[in-house]
Amino acid sequence: MADHPYRSLPDSAYWRRAVAAKGAAVDPVVGDFPLISRTDKVATAGSCFAQHVARHLARSGFNYLVTEQAHPILDAEVARAAGYGLYTARYGNIYTMLQLSQLFDRAYGRFEPAEDVWVGPDGKSVVDPFRPTIQPGGFASEAEMLADRAQHLSHVREAFGTLDLMVFTLGLTEGWVSAIDGAAFPLCPGVAGGSFDPARHLFRNLRTAEVRGQIGAFVEKLRAVNPKARLILTVSPVPLAASASGNHVLPATIYSKSALRAAAQEAAEDLDGVFYFPSYEIITGPQARGRFFAEDLREVTEDGVEHVMRVFLRHAAGMEAPESDHSAAPDDDRFSADVATWVETMCDEAMLDGEHA
């Protein structure tokens, strides 16, 4: 029998053995993946799925880096609602690589967007256009918002300057930017503050090459202030809540995730110290048969998140996270826990639906 390259491939290369036979419990990580020590400072950022990653990292014994801590006088629930602890700093959801790159530039004083103050939906409060839902009810004044932003950006600098590893979850290719200087807004102006003006606000749907270029540019900037920094990229499995691309939201979602996935792959292959973790595949792959999506076919269930993090911890830390004993808890308890998790996950994207309510 003639030899050929496929004869020597490991089981992981074969769908039947590696996927069909494993089902939803598949562990698709092979090859080079960074080991995280207990002392490595791990930072997180990204789209709403990244909140789950942050939550699990924080309670798994890692040195989860939080540079922007709520002041201890604040009530814990109040602080949580104001975005403290969701990520390493209080930047809220960062959906695109363009946003992350611009956050870096704003933090280091290299970019001062022209449109940097929004009036809140109530017509009185003040909103930070670059984290429009971070402050429930908005800020009381422009001075307060600007002071809070200055503090926030100092914590962002601290994070970029001290982290050992950053886990960034790519969420979207679609977004809105300023026609003046390209400043990327996490939410379309008018949704949670500001007012939409087609002359000032442009829709962008990033191409794969753009995202790849932005990853490279970000890594270069990050390494300039922190040469040891490593980056793990993931792609959020959460579909778009709405698409402004003119396409049906389903193909729009597939485009967006495909572009992000491809850019992440290329970056991981091209750049030292950049890795890809397949949370997207674990949740959305056919082996999961959709079981990791909630009834809305969008939110990821806690079961799905736990499986993703179990695989992550296995490879990043050599940890076997304990299986959750779901059978021990009544269904309603499990449901309540899932609901609580969803409620806590403040996903800015969901606000788009409210526009049509």
Partner: protein
């Protein structure tokens, strides 16, 4: 010769009843035949338990306990007093009397007082307000419970902060000393002022939602900037007997 008392008064509250009690006692001893001011301190052991229907820290359905209710009802039945509240009035002190190891401040829209301390971490007003509101839950419950027992009442604002840092530092109560550790220092006067103002706004809203009247702290006890004059301070957080006398006169005049 002070003006004679015009009516019986019942003042319900916690630590701020002390100033009223002292003023009432002095006046009663001099003029035993005049109408009297009496006080009920809701957390005194004789009235315990103060609350019923507090579930896991949730005060939304709280009512006064039976002995406390009976004490208030008995006073009303026997003396037909004007009922006033000096409920609460210390949460803002817990948050902002002593300088926190992680110094903080906030900007207050309107009524902002002295400028924030340089170098203090600025916390958005809304977060401070939400935290205050959560910590004031027992005081809000006391106001609701008092309305349920006594009907509409007057609520008198808690004493303004004193301006003098040294007065606070030198006379800080043990509870606050233990809380902050040594060395102890007063929080900035601006922070003390803003926390008091913000707390007062929340209490005023709660009082007026109950259909009750809110009386500001007596102007005669305040310096030109609105702080409590040391002549009327018993300690860093409470008014003295002279302050209590002003409260009684304000309640009578309302």
């Amino acid at each position: 010769m002070p003006e004679p008392r015009r009516m019986n008064i019942l003042v319900v509250g916690q630590s701020h009843v002390a100033a009223v009690r002292a003023a009432a006692r002095t006046h009663r001893e001099a003029f035993p035949d005049e109408p009297r001011t009496r006080v009920i301190h809701t957390v005194e052991e004789v009235h315990a338990p103060e609350f019923e229907n507090v579930v896991n820290g949730d005060y939304s359905a709280a009512t006064f306990g039976p002995r406390l209710r009976a004490a208030i009802e008995d006073q009303i039945a026997r003396h037909a007093p004007r009922v006033a509240s000096v409920v609460g009035g210390n949460v803002h002190n817990v948050m902002a009397l002593v300088r926190h190891p992680r110094p903080f401040d906030f900007l207050l829209a309107e009524d902002h007082g002295p400028p924030p301390d340089e170098g203090a971490e600025l916390i958005p007003e809304a977060l401070v307000r939400a935290t205050l509101r959560a910590q004031l839950a027992p005081d809000f419950a006391r106001l609701r419970a008092l309305k349920a027992v006594a009907g509409p009442f007057l609520h008198v604002e808690s004493p303004p902060p004193v301006r003098d840092d040294a007065f606070i530092t030198a006379r800080a109560e043990e509870a606050f000393r233990g809380r902050a550790g040594a060395p102890i220092a007063a929080a900035g006067a601006g922070l003390r002022w803003r926390m008091w103002r913000l707390s007062s706004r929340l209490i005023r809203d709660a009082v007026e939602e109950l259909g009750c009247r809110y009386l500001p702290a007596p102007a005669a006890a305040r310096d030109p900037d609105g702080f409590l004059s040391l002549d009327f301070a018993a300690d860093p957080t409470h008014g003295n007997e002279a302050y209590g006398e002003l409260l009684i006169r304000a309640i009578e005049a309302a």
